[in-house]
């Protein structure tokens, strides 16, 4: 079965991620610092207020921790690992493997994300739960839907990273593009501030972009802010974006390899 090959790729990448323990540890540390800073800012914002844009302080705290866990999944290097291989020419070895390139990169991305994301996520969520009174999922259904939405979020994130990584075929300066993409995702996914706090026009833009599927959708499902039919609709929107961007990725990949010039001899 071909699936075994992809699974093995993912497992190997997970193994590599585990060899970089220091980077895991610093990931946890910087993550906690970030959350602490945001937490204390929100406490000031909430002074004398009990509900803002439909969020209580406790819900906001929960939003902070859950969104951090999700954000964490995309802060790692899918696009840089794709683009650096294109830049240094080792993409050659990936082109001669009897595997679908996009699937193979997805498997690898999952491998590292699961190790880094889950490990850091567990630590941070535990801290949030014990020290900051973060709440659990709103209902058992919300919990199950959250897990589904989380998986979809990983796939959306990968599809975006894949497209951005492929830019290396056309440009040698991907660094700037990757950075601006990170900022855009950070902002429009709701990782920085919940989308509910956006002015109406900006919220409309965010609604029509794929990025909210990475953070906002899973968190509001977790919090129970959407449920029933609206929850299913949100999941469907995530799934639709995955299909669209996956196909776009495949098309760009085909285009890229038609004009490929491998660097470094």
């Amino acid at each position: 079965m071909a699936i075994r090959a992809y699974a093995a790729l993912g497992v190997q990448r997970a193994q590599v991620a585990l060899t970089y323990r220091l980077s895991l540890a610093t990931g946890i540390l910087t993550g906690l610092v970030r959350i602490l800073v945001l937490y204390y800012i929100w406490r000031v914002v909430y002074q004398g207020e009990s509900v803002l844009q439909g969020f209580t302080l406790q819900e906001m705290t929960t939003y902070l921790f859950v969104s951090f866990v999700l954000r964490n999944f995309y802060s790692f290097q899918t696009e840089t690992s794709i683009s650096s291989k294109i830049r240094d020419g080792s993409v050659s070895f990936e082109l001669i493997k009897p595997l679908n390139y996009q699937m193979a990169r997805f498997a690898e991305s999952l491998g590292s994300v699961v190790v880094e994301g889950v490990l850091i996520g567990i630590v941070v969520a535990t801290v949030g739960w014990i020290a900051f009174g973060m709440s659990g999922p709103a209902t058992p259904v919300a919990a199950a839907a959250f897990v589904a939405s989380l998986v979809l979020s990983l796939m959306i994130n990968f599809a975006i990273c894949f497209l951005v990584g492929l830019v290396s075929f056309w440009s040698t300066s991907v660094f700037g593009i990757v950075n601006s993409k990170r900022l855009i995702v950070e902002f429009f996914s709701g990782a920085l501030v919940p989308l509910a706090f956006f002015p109406a026009w900006l919220r409309t833009i965010a609604q029509w972009l794929p990025f909210r599927g990475i953070v906002s959708t899973p968190v509001i499902i977790y919090l129970g802010q959407v449920s029933g039919e609206r929850m299913w609709a949100e999941l469907a929107v995530q799934a639709a974006w995955i299909v669209v961007m996956w196909l776009a990725g495949a098309a760009v990949w085909r285009l890229a390899t038609r004009r490929l010039e491998v660097n470094g001899g």
Binding site: A8, Q12, V16, T19, G89, E261, V262
Partner: protein, 340 residues
């Protein structure tokens, strides 16, 4: 350029051409800034109008200087690059259009870079290849063991690639390229930068696999010894053009078996003394220029020691060196032969 083969060819290239577009910018920061708005694209021809056919089980040396177009050709044959024009067919399919299909039957090793994962033990990379190529466990174990017998890789398998020496890494990379019993192996400079012992091991291994498995081997190199020890056919590429395609013996008989003797002189030699030496049988002057006398010696006609001694006697020698000819002089003599 002709070769008659009974078997239908496994690899066929027809009028293969690859051009690159290179953006030229003027030197310096100002030039780079100017390049942002107006960069003149320049077309560079890497490979031009190359045609050949290779039958199953052949061992073909693909020779050329650095930048002659070897790697570009190999990358088109493996399906990594799409030809600008012309065509490649490998076992009936077009590699760049059927990468996954083609990938199953080829093994590739590049001396310049590793296909193994830098961070994890070699054994783990092998295991991944077993899954990717769906190698049955017993065949996999048998191959690892056999490769170990020739290459001595067993002690390296537990080490991450970043901790291996170049020679050790290359041995592991070669083994990795052959794990799935590929029909065709494309090896690009597999001995580059290796010491003599490691080179020998690599060459012995390639020969072994070719004999045992009938693997077709395409070996790109600029080291003539690689070719001499492994291949039965040579193709020489220069500046993107195929300048020779034929049996190996011809090149070595005619061009490569001579030695080069180089005398660096303290003072200019008299014409007579140079003549005396160059009139020895099998001695040809390659370069006589002020303080340098470079000779090609056919050892079958004159012992190199005699020629060296004559030089030391007749010339004011500061330094003396002996070498086997490089690819450059072979290509040069092929050109000269064509012109005459």
């Amino acid at each position: 350029m002709h070769h008659d083969r009974v078997n239908s060819p496994l690899i066929e290239a027809e009028c293969l051409t690859k051009t690159y577009r290179v953006r030229r910018s003027k030197p310096g920061l100002v030039g780079a800034l100017r390049g942002l708005v107006s960069g003149a694209d320049q077309t560079v021809v890497a490979v031009e109008d190359v045609s050949f056919a290779i039958g199953p089980g052949e061992t073909v040396g693909y020779i050329g200087k650095n930048g002659a177009g070897k790697s570009t050709t190999i990358k088109m044959l493996t399906g990594i690059l799409v030809p600008t024009s012309g065509s490649v067919t490998v076992a009936g399919i077009e590699p760049s259009r059927n990468r996954t299909e083609n990938g199953k039957r080829i093994g590739v090793a590049f001396g310049q870079r590793t296909s193994l994962n830098w961070d994890i033990p070699v054994r783990e990379s092998f295991r991944l290849l077993r899954e990717i190529y769906r190698i049955p466990v017993d065949a996999f174990e048998r191959n690892v063991q056999m490769f170990n017998e020739v290459l001595g890789i067993e002690p390296l398998l537990g080490t991450p690639v970043r901790k291996l020496s170049l020679g050790q890494r290359m041995k592991c990379d070669l083994a990795a390229a052959f794990l799935h019993d590929p029909e065709i192996a494309y090896l690009d400079e597999p001995t580059i930068g290796l010491d003599v012992v490691a080179k020998d091991a690599v060459r012995a291994f390639i020969n072994h696999v070719n004999h045992e498995r009938g693997t077709t081997v395409i070996l790109a190199t600029h080291d003539l010894q690689d070719i001499e020890k492994i291949c039965n056919r040579a193709m020489i590429i220069d500046a993107g053009h195929l300048v020779y395609d034929g049996p190996l013996e011809q090149i070595f008989d005619r061009h490569a078996l001579h030695k080069e003797i180089r005398f660096d002189l303290r003072s200019e030699p008299s014409p007579q003394s140079v003549d005396t030496i160059t009139q020895m049988p099998g001695v040809e002057p390659l370069e006589v220029d002020g303080h340098l006398v470079l000779l090609a010696v056919d050892p079958a006609q004159s012992a190199t020691s005699d020629v060296a001694r004559a030089g030391l006697d007749l010339l004011d020698v500061a330094d003396l060196s002996l070498s086997d000819p490089g690819i450059e002089s072979v290509v040069k003599s092929i050109y000269e032969e064509k012109l005459s």
